[in-house]
């Protein structure tokens, strides 16, 4: 029984991981683009981007998923995105907006003097960005990024609202609905293990990055 449940839940956990990694792969670079957009000197770029960030951070992710999935059909009669694609799109945009604010805080926290020091040493703008600024930014944003990424692991459970078979949905539909409750709580172990590994990974990265302390 215990083994069967573990195997079944692992199937759902596979979906959970897939949502997690795909979102991360898309949202990490997308967030950087949004961060550049919102700090742009051109108001025609920075204002729309800031409004986007406000809307995405100002509404629940669950609502965003429902809108992405149902609104095209309900409002325009279009054939919208598939369930899984909807989840990846909604999660990526949502997380990219949160990441963008973390990136922004990172860039703005590097003192002007660091740029000037690079110039004095005769470095090009490119060299200054990659050799002086970037690593300091990465070091500074690691803890808040870790926080957000850990939240992402747990937010994947929202996918069940449009019946994507992630681990909680599997626990509900295969066990809880038949009156077997413990697998629901057992799903917590999967989340805990996954987040435990992430926590260790972030500790390790922070240690390695301490080299760039100023």
């Amino acid at each position: 029984m215990w083994w069967n449940v573990t195997v079944t839940l692992l199937e759902g956990f596979g979906m959970t991981c897939l949502i997690f990694f795909l979102t991360l792969i898309i949202a990490l670079p997308l967030g950087l683009i949004i961060a550049f957009g919102s700090t742009s000197k051109f108001k025609a770029i920075s204002y729309p981007v800031k409004i986007l960030v406000w809307i995405v951070r100002g509404t629940p992710l669950m609502l965003q998923i429902l809108i992405f999935f149902y609104a095209p059909g309900l409002l325009f009669g279009w054939h919208g995105l598939e369930r899984f694609t909807t989840i990846i799109v909604a999660f990526s945009i949502n997380y990219a907006c949160y990441f963008s604010e973390i990136y922004r805080s990172g860039f703005q926290s590097v003192p002007r003097g660091q740029y000037e020091a690079g110039q004095v040493l005769g470095m090009t703008r490119r060299q200054i960005f990659f050799k002086v600024i970037m690593m300091q930014v990465v070091r500074r944003i690691l803890p808040p990024m870790g926080n957000e990424i850990i939240t992402l692991v747990k937010d994947t459970s929202l996918a069940r609202i449009i019946t994507v078979q992630e681990i909680l949905q599997v626990a509900f539909s295969r066990y809880v609905s038949k009156g077997i409750i413990w697998p629901l709580f057992y799903t917590g172990v999967f989340y805990l293990l996954f987040i435990g590994i992430l926590t260790l990974l972030f500790h390790y990265l922070e240690k390695r990055m301490s080299y760039y302390r100023i």
Binding site: F69, Y70, A71, P72, G73, L74, G77, W78, H79, G80, R83, R160, I161, T163, F172, S173, V176, S177, K178, G179, I181
Partner: protein, 253 residues
């Protein structure tokens, strides 16, 4: 001064006493419901109304209990009942073998059927259960409908509520939703957003029986409720209530 203080103290004691007493008598039966028109739903004052809500209130009033309505997650209803969060499930609940095994059930008080809800333009495609084959079918998870389509080869989209299943059809993300007759009727009548766009189709599903659920072994309360249901059928209360909520053709016999 002393006298008025004494009177004040006496008044406080009496007040406290009565408050305590009412608290003791506040033996409210907690009824587990979901938002499911016309059986249990909230009116404009946010009060629970509906055929089941009014019937339950009447039955327990006659038995000398107060009632409280508690919205539950339908998928975990048995757990919620056994955990003691609610005392009774009274929410257009279809009798299944699984329920018979796990909880105590009252006599059947209504008979329901499952209907399909489809976009009006595709109405002619759906004439029998076989026409579901290869289609995208939306149902409420753990509902009678899910059980009915178990062996049909179609894409099964299992939503958290019947209303979410119906929204799938309106959005075109599913072809057909299988819901209770009462639900199908309410959602296709005037005043609903789906009026004119969605239509109810009879696919010929078998009759289902509605009963009230109690914790397993709570046979005493069950027997009392059964007796009340009998009385209220005989004196015409149930028929009148069924007419009020448009479910008269679901009454037994």
């Amino acid at each position: 001064m002393k006298k008025s203080f004494a009177i004040l103290m006496a008044a406080v004691t009496v007040c406290a006493g009565t408050a305590g007493l009412t608290a003791c008598n506040d033996d409210a039966i907690v009824i587990g419901v979901t938002d499911y028109e016309p059986m249990d739903y909230r009116d404009e004052n946010n009060e629970w109304v509906g055929f089941d809500a009014e019937l339950a209130t009447k039955v327990f009033e006659n038995l000398g209990y107060k009632v409280k309505f508690q919205e539950i997650d339908w998928e975990t209803k048995i757990v919620t009942l056994n955990a003691g969060t609610i005392d009774v499930i009274w929410n257009g609940m279809t009798v299944t073998d699984e329920l018979k095994e796990n909880i105590t059930l009252s006599e059947v008080y209504l008979e329901n059927r499952q209907y399909g809800l489809v976009k009006t333009e595709y109405q002619s495609e759906y004439t029998s259960i076989a026409s579901l084959e290869g289609k995208k079918v939306a149902v409420e998870a753990s509902s009678a409908a899910e059980n009915l389509i178990k062996n049909i080869s179609c894409t099964k989209n299992k939503l958290a509520t019947q209303s979410a299943a119906v929204m799938e059809v309106a959005a075109g993300t599913s072809d057909i939703a299988i819901v209770d007759y009462t639900m199908a009727k309410t959602l296709t009548s005037e005043g609903s957003d789906y009026y004119g766009t969605l239509v109810a189709v009879d696919l010929g599903f078998e009759v289902e029986e509605y009963a009230v659920g109690f914790r397993k072994g709570d046979t005493e309360l069950c027997a009392k409720v059964n007796a009340q249901l009998k009385t209220l059928t005989e004196n015409g209360f149930i028929l009148e209530l069924a007419r009020k909520y448009g479910v008269a053709n679901l009454l037994k016999g």
